[in-house]
């Protein structure tokens, strides 16, 4: 073996050991190893943004070509819908008034009192599909912090996993690391759900821990529970699409179809706790 080969082997060994240590540190639960992302994430986010819009344009063009008839039918339908909406406007005002009275009556906790919603665009998806991380175009400069909850008007998307200066990474709910407690809205029973996308590439959740005597049925709505102090209670997660019973041990498990279609979602809202926002504003002033 010549000298150059020996140096190469030595370098390979050093790099391997260094990478294993980095993997161990960054992969450990609750690790905060985001400095590299904070340094490199900002310039790359600018390129990602440009490519994201180019990708969307290409996708949009193909969609238009292949679904022209469908779109035309939808347009006709929308015209009719528009007429109906005008009539519903009055009804809506009346219901809003009634709703606010009811809220006060039962002291319903409203998210808008506790959180401010910051809108964000998804500019990059997980390259490898193993960790279901999306990149959004807002960061600490917009008031985003690690562990802020990310939602759309349809329901839960995930949490902020790493917050860079102008962009952040979010870990979606379908990631297997996202085991969290939910409630069946029909019965208010507590269940534990986890993501399965890493194993099956399907954007769905599984109810893997059901309390004894609890029951879950197809069509049940699942919402977040207050447990864990990460997700605010009551955010829509999805609907039970399948219930299976293990013949060997009698265990019941259920599959949940997400309320949010993660394959097409492009705009999300980050829920920043008002307390954090106020503290930051006070710090800045």
């Amino acid at each position: 073996m010549n000298k150059r080969s020996k140096i190469t082997l030595f370098a390979l060994a050093v790099i391997t050991v260094a990478l294993i240590v980095i993997i161990a540190v960054s992969g450990s639960p609750n690790s905060d190893f985001s400095f590299a992302y904070k340094i490199f994430g900002t310039p790359v986010a600018a390129v990602q943004k440009a490519f994201s819009s180019a990708g969307s344009s290409v996708k949009g063009w193909f969609e238009f070509v292949f679904s022209y008839d469908e779109m035309k039918a939808e347009m006709d339908e929308l015209k009719e819908e528009n007429d109906r909406i005008a009539l519903l406007e009055d009804e809506k005002d009346r219901l809003e008034l009634e709703n606010s009275e009811l809220k006060e009556l039962i002291s319903l906790k409203d998210y808008s009192n506790k959180y401010s919603l910051i809108s964000a665009n998804i500019i990059a998806h997980d390259v490898t599909d193993w960790f279901d991380c999306y990149t959004i175009d807002v960061g600490t400069s917009d008031g985003i912090n690690k562990n802020d909850v990310v939602v759309t008007s349809s329901g839960l998307v995930g949490i902020v996993n790493e917050a860079g200066f102008t962009s952040s990474k979010i870990m979606t709910v379908v990631n297997e690391q996202n085991s969290f407690m939910c409630r069946i809205s029909r019965s208010n029973e507590l269940v534990r759900v986890r993501g399965v996308s890493g194993e099956t590439l399907k954007y769905e959740l599984v109810v893997d821990r059901l309390a004894e005597g609890s029951s879950v049925f197809k069509g049940d709505k699942i919402v977040t529970a207050e447990s864990g102090d990460v997700y605010p209670a009551g955010i829509m997660v999805g609907t039970v699409s399948d219930v299976t019973v293990n013949e060997k041990n009698g265990e019941v498990s259920a599959t949940i179809d997400l309320a949010v279609d993660l394959k097409v979602v492009s705009k999300v809202y980050v829920m920043v706790p008002e307390a954090d926002k106020n503290a930051k504003e006070a710090e800045n002033s």
Partner: protein, 234 residues
């Protein structure tokens, strides 16, 4: 005595045919034009020496390919999924470039592409740096000396290696998920995991590999040869 750094001029068709290892003209040329060869080496040895030269143009191309393949993979292929899977474009480039380059260069190319994915897109830092580095090293050590630049044989060896990578990637990613999330199960249903995840990814990677292998090989060859004075590929 200084070696002559000249190589026979190849016509367009010959360059392409040579990639498949079917070109009788090259053999004729090698016998005719002894003066063009590096002294003491056969034509094949000389060609191999030039094929794996690391030129400035090749380094620049590798950097650009690494940077843009990941971005294109993420932004475009995310919407062009097949059976739920998207191809690993960066992996395909790592395989092709490692098949054409020496182990040191392949190793570094794999390492930096992997680290770039880890930092900008991944969740666990270092995972793809390590996987890509060893995979590139493996491909370069196994494929390059065996195939000597012939695309058909190169593909025949590389495609099964893509399947090996899919299993390896799956195993380590799942292992780290367990480590990170403190789970206890590596695979809930391994058969389902293979059919719904590994095979679609492998299939899509193979399709992309077949599409890209000839253009990238030609480009790589052209970038290496264009820096040699007097060499004309097309």
């Amino acid at each position: 005595m200084q070696k002559k750094r000249k190589i026979p001029k190849l016509i367009n068709g010959a360059a392409i045919a040579r990639l498949f290892g079917f070109n009788p003209k090259i053999k004729t040329l090698s016998e005719k034009d002894k003066d063009y060869l590096i002294e003491g080496d056969s034509f094949t040895e000389t060609r191999e020496a030039y094929d794996s030269l690391i030129t400035g143009k090749r380094i620049a191309a590798a950097v650009l390919i690494s940077f843009f393949s990941v971005i294109v993979q993420e932004s475009l292929f995310n919407d062009l999924r097949l059976f739920g899977a998207k191809p690993d474009l960066s992996l395909v480039f790592v395989v092709i470039i490692a098949s054409l380059s020496k182990t040191r260069f392949s190793m570094l190319y794999g390492l930096f592409t992997g680290l770039y994915i880890d930092v900008c897109y991944g969740k666990i830092l270092g995972l793809y740096g390590l996987l890509f580095m060893y995979f590139a090293l493996f491909v370069s050590a196994i494929v390059r000396p065996t195939v000597k630049g012939r695309v058909l044989i190169m593909s025949a060896i590389s495609v099964p290696l893509l399947l090996v990578y899919c299993f390896t990637d799956s195993f380590f990613s799942r292992l780290l998920t367990i480590y990170s999330a403190e789970h206890t199960t590596l695979y809930y249903e391994f058969a389902q995991h293979i059919t719904s995840r590994i095979l679609p990814e492998f299939l899509y990677d193979t399709i992309v590999y077949v599409i890209l292998v000839i253009p990238v090989t030609l480009l790589w060859t052209a970038l290496g040869k264009s820096s040699i004075k007097g060499y004309k590929m097309f």
